[in-house]
């Protein structure tokens, strides 16, 4: 029953975080005043950011957990399969080609999906996906695409550079609520879909043959789960660029708190990651206000030391 208490605390913390996310900012506005007409615009903008933060937190956390389980590697992260550089390359190419800004999220989405298709096919051998091949192909494609990005930026200069920064370090500044609704759909669906595989992920995290001996069609589950995480991360990259460390740190911390059972870990980590993202977004827009620090910088500044601490302290739980 202690588990119920932990979930209750997480839920209360999430509600508190949402309220903070709405009232705090470059100007602090009390909750009651936010609903008045004069502050309506600010309220709407902040609400979109909070929703984006929740989606990003949940999506990144679940993608991280799923990949960590199927690769049996607690260090796997959502962008492992080259999505980040694929999306970046497509976006930069689109900017250089003079494509309207409106289509940039679409370009990023397609770039991310394309990179996963390439990585996946590179790693496939006799219909099975070898873990090491998957990780290595992901690294190779990331490096190759990143170098292409730098090449394009050095040829075409400033305009592309500006776009690059945005993709590389992420932002939860969402102007277009239609786009947010559009990506919310696949992200939420993806999170629920991964949850349906919770017990499969438990078994696979013990080893592929162990899972097979428990009646799990390991190769199919792996393919489906990789596909789902691809859709989640690609959708997220569309609206908020690349936000590192969240998919790595939060699952790891929650494993220490609620244990590795995915039936509990997935919902707990979704809540915790949403809280974490709202908090980081708040820091990103208030710390040096009116300048906004990219959120990826905040998550890295908080994430790296936490990660080192956990690594040193909790070798056993890694």
């Amino acid at each position: 029953m202690r588990l119920k208490l932990k979930f209750l605390i997480l839920l209360i913390a999430l509600c508190a975080a949402v309220v903070f996310g709405l009232i705090k900012g470059a100007v602090n506005i009390p909750l009651a005043n936010l609903l008045f007409n004069e502050h309506r615009v600010i309220f709407n903008l902040r609400l979109l950011r909070v929703i984006a933060a929740i989606l990003a937190g949940g999506g990144l956390a679940v993608s991280g957990i799923a990949l960590q389980a199927i690769l049996r590697n607690p260090l796997a992260e959502p962008y492992l399969l080259g999505t980040s550089s694929g999306a970046g390359l497509a976006a930069v190419s689109a900017v250089i080609a003079g494509v309207s800004r409106v289509y940039l999220p679409l370009a990023a989405f397609l770039g991310a999906i394309a990179s996963i298709i390439i990585v996946y096919n590179l790693a496939r051998e006799r219909g099975a996906i070898a873990d090491e091949s998957l990780i290595l192909s992901g690294v190779v494609i990331s490096v190759a695409f990143s170098s292409l990005i730098v090449f394009l930026v050095s040829l075409f200069g400033n305009e592309a550079m500006h776009e690059m920064n945005w993709w590389l370090w992420g932002s939860l500044q969402v102007y277009d609520y239609k786009l947010l609704l559009l990506v919310a759909f696949p992200i939420l669906l993806g999170i629920c879909a991964v949850y349906l595989f919770a017990q499969d992920l438990n078994a696979i995290s013990l080893g592929e043959e162990e899972a097979m001996h428990l009646g799990i069609d390991v190769q199919n589950v792996k393919k489906i789960v990789i596909l789902i995480t691809a859709v989640i991360t690609a959708s997220l990259i569309c609206i908020c660029g690349i936000i590192g460390f969240v998919g790595l740190i939060v699952p790891h911390m929650m494993r220490l708190i609620v244990g590795p059972n995915h039936k509990v870990l997935i919902p707990a980590t979704c809540l915790a990651a949403a809280i974490f993202m709202i908090f980081c977004d708040l820091l990103s827009r208030t710390f040096f206000s009116p300048i906004e620090v990219p959120i990826g910088v905040i998550t890295a500044i908080i994430g790296a030391p936490v990660f080192i601490f956990l690594l040193k302290k909790g070798k056993r739980a890694l």
């Binding site: 607690p74 013990l206 043959e209 428990l214 494993r255 244990g259 590795p260 059972n261």
Partner: protein, 263 residues
Amino acid sequence: MSALLRIKNLTGGYHSEDVIRNLSLDVNRGDFLIIIGPNGSGKTTLLRLLTRALTPRQGEVLYENKIIAQMELKEFCRKAAFVSQDISTSFSFTVMELVLMGRIPHLKRLQSESKKDIEMALEKLALTGTLNLKNKRIDELSAGDRQRVVIARALAQEPELLFLDEPTAHLDIGHQVQALDLLKRLNREDSLTIVMIMHDLNLASAYSGRMVLLDKGEIFKAGSPEEVLTYQNIETVYKTVVLVNSNPVTGKPNVVLVPKGKQ
């Protein structure tokens, strides 16, 4: 009576290399069958072929006259369970969570464990003497306790047939005997059929009903411990000089090593 598991002209291994060659064997309901043989003789490969972890290149394995490769995987896992040497994981599940995974073959995708599944898991923990460990994390356990928990998980699958790959390899003699006594009891009282790989010839002799001696992917000799564990068979297959006398308590064959200098 037809065999529970019938192996017909089985050939298979890794990539192009056949480790098991044209092997045929029947396992009957209620058997306590121990597979012995030197390193590289194909024991583990044979077990992987029998548990669907590998696909045979030729021949077939039949479970109650059904080709195992054509059975639904979950159905097969409700009939036959597998216990490996040891489990290693970077994720520290609790003992209870691990044993509940044994219920996977009995559950549909959206179905979560019912009261019955939890009772089944607790019953198997009690049966293997690990009930007091149920809230411990598996990486906190000793090798002996962990092995008993893994056996409990396999039993939670409610199998008729249990495959074990050297389950006692990492255990001291006390825990070895404890684990084997448990298996013997399950074999006798619940008529659980057991197919097990072992290295220790004397333990194999003491516990098995039937033995199979593998050599280079083929059956060198199959039969009772008395028929298999002769000094001629062992010297031929293991290339080692031994004496075989009989265990004064059980009357079963007892293999004594003879070091080179003393021959």
